[in-house]
Amino acid sequence: MLILHCPYCGVDAEETELHAGGQAHLTRETVGSDDEAFEDYLFMRENPKGVHFERWRHASGCGKWFHAARCTTTLEVFGTYSAQTTAPPREICDAISGKRPGWSWKTFSARMFS
């Protein structure tokens, strides 16, 4: 039963108020994409032991989608931020790097989109 801060309405929301939406920062593939790229987009997901970026909706609250950066093993939350972005903002990346030295968005994204 996680507690995540909704960056829109400011509520620290309990998991029962939230709807999980899976991995964040996917790039939509559509007409013109080859089968493999489309399959990756639709089905292939990271399942990391560690830093992860997730989509959440404050469903029983303000109704807004937001993103959360958290560690799947320690349950540490590095921050939540707007869903209207293609990459985690700088302060989130800094917060992660502060706690997980050597971590970088680049290696993360390289792994995610390779």
Binding site: L2, E14, R28, E29, V31, L75, A83
Partner: protein
């Protein structure tokens, strides 16, 4: 006394002593019933102590072999003492006698025996033990199949099972309760009390919970002296002190059940189990958020594995002591103590002090015990060091022990007569709560147990530990150690939440010097197979040392696999006694160290909690909110036969007096087709989509083009998921230049609105579009049938002629004085208007329609008539023709897939080879040759069989009805290449083995030219 003199089991007694029992109120007698026998106990008894006092040692039978089972423990870890408690609406199976407080009028029966507790036919399993080895169920499930079906299963079903499921509705009530605290402390022993005192002094908001009705844990029984006071005095003083702290709350009978992410904890409170009442909830589930949690859950004593350790009368040493000290009950007159550590000497000393006989203490350690051993020796108790139990004598009750050397193979040195055995294999910290949310364990060699590893604690949202452990649960095995540990832990925890606990000296307790424990996992060390197959690890599930060894031999090396293969630790006690002993045996069999083998996963709840408490208030009418349309009350008053649709109730039909449901449906269809019907369509989803980019957005959402729709017109649209499957359909109306109103299915309103928002917020966030779900703002009524226009014209107010309001057009206006939006759409194939009015005017408008429609015998109809009429027209229904695997192309809806659009949700997915495959199951009509109604969901068979030997299929029924219009059964179905096979007859086998033959036809059974709706 010679052993022979004690062979008659019925002279052996457990009994109430003349004095003693610190928890008893001997002034108050309590009556209760066990297996029909009327018995008496005292106020303060548990059901276990009261049964023992009445010489009822035999409590039940084991699960697999139906071995006689007696009490082993005195607390939550008890594996055997499970009974059916109460009657009727208060019946509960698997109630644990050791945690059931006695009350006047309690009734209990033993379980898992047939036909009686003393004579049980299932005990034949006991003699068949070598045919029921580890993995029996798995092995038998595989081969031979016939034997399973005809031999094993009927026998097992008759004779197995712990308890029976209640039959009556629970008469008690339950509730949830929310608490938010700084520090939650689980466990009210001396460590928990001290931790609450220290944390409370820091000003933190503290909640201290204890699962039993008593405080102080084992300290009073074990004779602790704290700061010069008796344990009871210290406990009472501390409780008084905590009571004076406004920031500290203490609650007993509240069991910490589980710890979850980010400081969430569940606890189960038993409010009236000890005093049944109609005025209060029975149980309360506490849903707690704590910044920090301290588990002070103590430790549980381990049994020793010797042959015959499951015979009634063999008990944990601590339990024997508890019954004497707390309840003034002796388990037997002559008790042999067997141990590998000093603590069990306390039992011998307590028994001697109560005037009972302790003929022998068997200490498996060659070097023997420490100060307590000296004290026992001084009392004249015979102590044999380096000795063990070779075998227990007795059947339904212990009659004696055979003594051997621990180091040997079990050669019998002597036999001692006794009627109880108090065993101790050391103590295991209760690490369950620590482990629930990821806390890791380390192996403590000195005490031969796992305890929490403070360096790998469960962590919270800030990445810092939020669970700490103290006292016996932390492996602190002395009174002063536990108290100092508790004080330090609470100080540390206070600091973590930004508070400072004032410096104070922790209480001091007098400890005795203890000699080191020696791990003993088998007794004797070199026991052969004959002895090992009588050494029980898991009493409830009948798992023996030999079973675990067999599992290891058969290649089950992982402790998690061994658990499932042998069922070790899978019973209702979840292995509280058997866990460590079992994995020690496994480690030994694998030639590995215990820490390398590791433990199985500890999962909540710590002990079973009631289903009622989980449901809380959400029962019956309060299970979920009911959505009501503005016409709900009219329906209820006019014979509505309800059907749940999402959270709504919709009338399936309106029954007239004396009319069957089927007749009502047929009447409603005929009346509508012949003259005039009314349908409450208010539940249909209505979503406003508005903004400069609304058209562009809807073109992405729907498979067809919505941006080109003209204001004042309607268009039927399909929505697919990104994965290509059809998810919803409905009529879209363009209201003005930048506003559309999207109708969804009744069940779809909320999730389609969420679907729109998801794409707008997370993918096309720069598009200027707003959405609003206005479903409940309108009452919507379908006016249907050849006289629909006549009715509206009679009410008057707006032009509803074919020219002014043609098919698939809409207009705002007034009808009969009501503000309406009239949509000229049809889901029945008849001339039809769907008319929306503000919700507040819905009922009045409905009444006006009924009154004015009387001359055409206006007939309200329900969802089943709606379904039949749409099926007669070949219209699909989401959830019938679709099931998440169906694409629009399967349903002949290619015309609704825009070729002009570059992209829409699902377009790319539908280009994948499987979806573009021409050989798919496609929509057709089905006409049975005999006119009968096909069974819903029936499969059409094809030649041959598949890889599993099942008959091949070539289609299935998706909708099936008796059509009153055609006077025969009609159906829709998906059939392989169906539209190319019109006229072909295929077979639909029924569940009774008969076959229905059906002809493949066009799915539009009624008015294929659409002349009726377009007039």
């Amino acid at each position: 006394m010679e052993l022979e003199n004690l062979q008659r089991e019925d002279v052996l007694m457990s009994t109430r002593l003349a004095a003693g029992g610190r928890l008893l109120n001997r002034g108050k007698s309590v009556r209760f019933e066990f297996n029909g026998k009327h018995l008496r106990g005292f106020d303060g008894d548990t059901l276990a102590s009261a049964l023992l006092a009445n010489d009822q040692m035999l409590m039940g039978r084991s699960f697999k072999y139906h071995r006689p089972r007696g009490l082993v423990a005195s607390g939550a870890e008890e594996p055997n003492g499970l009974v059916n408690l109460g009657k009727g609406g208060r019946f509960e199976p698997n109630a644990r006698v050791t945690t059931t407080e006695l009350f006047d009028g309690l009734t209990a029966t033993s379980q898992n025996h047939w036909p009686s507790l003393d004579f049980d036919v299932g005990v034949v399993n006991n003699y068949a033990a070598r045919f029921l080895p580890a993995g029996f169920y798995y092995k038998t499930f595989i081969q031979p199949r016939a034997a399973w079906k005809h031999v094993f299963e009927p026998f097992i079903r008759q004779s197995a099972g712990l308890g029976k499921a209640p039959k009556d509705r629970d008469v008690d009530t339950y509730e949830h309760f929310y608490a938010f605290v700084d520090v939650l402390i689980v466990g009210g022993g001396i460590a928990g009390l001290q931790a609450a005192k220290t944390a409370g002094a820091s000003g933190a908001k503290v909640l201290l919970i204890e699962q039993t009705g008593h405080w102080g844990g084992r300290a009073p029984v074990d004779g602790a002296v704290i700061d010069g006071k008796s344990a009871d005095d210290w406990i009472n003083n501390t409780l008084d002190l905590l009571d004076k702290m406004e920031n500290v709350q203490v609650r007993s009978r509240l069991m910490g059940a589980g710890i979850y992410d980010h400081g969430y904890a569940l606890a189960h409170e038993r409010l009236t189990d000890h005093a049944p009442s109609d005025d209060m909830p029975r149980h309360r589930l506490w849903r707690i958020r704590a910044k920090q949690i301290i588990t002070a859950t103590g430790a549980i004593e381990r049994p020793l594995s010797f042959a015959g350790n499951d015979i009634p009368g063999v008990m944990l040493a601590s339990a024997v002591r508890d019954y004497v000290v707390n309840y003034g009950v002796s388990a037997g007159d002559r008790t042999v103590v067997v141990t590998n550590n000093d603590d069990a000497y306390r039992t011998a000393i307590a028994l001697k002090g109560a005037g009972l006989d302790v003929p022998l203490i068997l200490d498996a350690r060659a070097s023997g015990g420490g100060a307590l051993a000296e004290e026992a020796a001084a009392l004249g108790i015979r102590i044999a060091n380096g000795k063990a139990i070779a075998s227990v004598k007795g059947g339904k009750r212990v009659t004696g022990v055979q003594v051997c050397a621990q180091a040997g193979e079990g050669a019998v040195l002597e036999e001692i007569a006794c009627d109880a055995i108090a065993m101790s294999g050391g103590w295991s910290p209760v690490v369950h709560l620590w482990s629930h949310c990821g806390g890791k364990l380390i192996w403590d060699d000195a005490h031969a147990h796992f305890r929490p590893d403070a360096d790998r604690a469960p962590t919270g949202a800030d990445g810092e530990p939020f669970v700490s452990v103290t006292g016996g649960a932390d492996g602190a095995m002395s009174f002063s150690g536990a108290l100092a540990n508790a004080d330090e832990t609470a100080r540390h925890v206070s600091k973590r939440i930004g508070r400072k606990a004032k410096k104070a000296t922790p209480p001091n307790a007098d400890d005795v010097e203890m000699a080191p424990l020696a791990p003993v996992w088998k007794m004797p060390q070199g026991a052969g197979i004959k002895l090992r197959s009588k050494m029980w690890l898991d009493y409830q599930n009948d798992v023996k040392v030999s079973d675990v060894q067999l599992a290891a031999q058969e290649g089950f090396e992982s402790v998690e696999h061994t658990k499932r293969y042998t069922t070790l630790g899978m019973a209702t006690d979840q292995g509280k006694l058997s866990n460590i002993n079992g994995l020690a045996v496994l480690a030994d069999s694998l030639n590995e160290e215990i820490p390398q083998v590791g433990t199985t996963t500890f999962r909540p709840p710590y002990t079973p909690i009631s289903m009622g408490s989980i449901a809380g208030e959400a029962t019956g009418e309060r299970f979920q909110p009911l959505r009501r349309t503005p016409l709900h009350d009219w329906h209820a008053g006019n014979g509505a036969y309800w059907e749940p649709v999402g959270h709504w109730r919709r009338p399936y039909c309106f029954q007239r007096s004396g009319e069957s449901v089927e007749d009502a449906v047929q009447r409603e269809v005929k009346a509508t087709r012949d003259s005039l019907g009314l349908l409450d369509a208010s539940t249909l989803g209505k979503i406003i989509v508005k903004g400069p980019d609304a058209g562009k957005f809807l073109d992405m959402l729907y498979t067809n083009m919505m941006s080109t729709l003209k204001p004042g017109r309607c268009r039927y649209g399909l929505m697919c998921s990104e994965n290509g499957f059809l998810m919803d359909d409905g009529v879209v109306a363009r209201i003005d230049e930048d506003t559309w109103l999207c109708h969804t299915t009744t069940g779809g309103a909320d999730h389609i609105h969420a679907h729109m928002e998801e794409w707008l917020q997370t993918e096309w966030w720069d598009w200027q579009v707003f959405t609003a779900n206005v479903t409940e703002q309108y009452a919507q009524i379908a006016v249907v049938g050849p006289n629909a226009r006549n009715l509206l014209e009679k009410l008057g107010g707006m032009d509803v002629s074919a020219d002014a309001l043609p098919f698939m057009a809409w207009a705002d206006g007034q009808i009969g004085g009501f503000d309406v939006r009239a949509y000229r759409i049809s889901f029945s194939g008849e001339l039809s208007y769907e008319i929306a009015v503000p919700a507040s005017q819905g009922r009045a408008f409905w009444d006006a329609l009924l009154e004015a429609g009387a001359e055409w015998q206006v007939t309200p109809y329900g969802t089943e008539a709606l379904h039949i009429m749409r099926a007669e027209k070949g219209f699909i229904m989401i959830g019938d023709e679709t099931d998440g695997t169906v694409i629009p192309q399967d349903l002949g809806l290619d015309w609704a897939l825009s070729k002009k659009k570059n992209d829409y949700l699902g377009k790319r997915a539908q280009q994948r080879s499987h979806m573009a495959d021409p050989d798919r199951w496609k929509l057709v009509g089905l006409e049975t040759l005999d006119g009968s109604v096909l069974p819903d969901g029936a499969y059409a068979t094809a030649d041959g069989t598949n890889a599993n030997g099942q008959r091949n299929t070539q289609g299935r029924v998706t909708s099936t009805y008796h059509s009153p219009t055609l006077g025969r059964g009609i159906a829709m179905g998906l059939v392989l290449n169906g539209p190319d096979r019109i006229g072909e007859v295929i077979d639909f086998p029924k569940t009774d083995g008969s076959i229905v033959k059906a002809k493949i036809v066009n799915p539009v059974f009624y008015d294929p030219e659409g002349e009726k709706q377009n007039v």
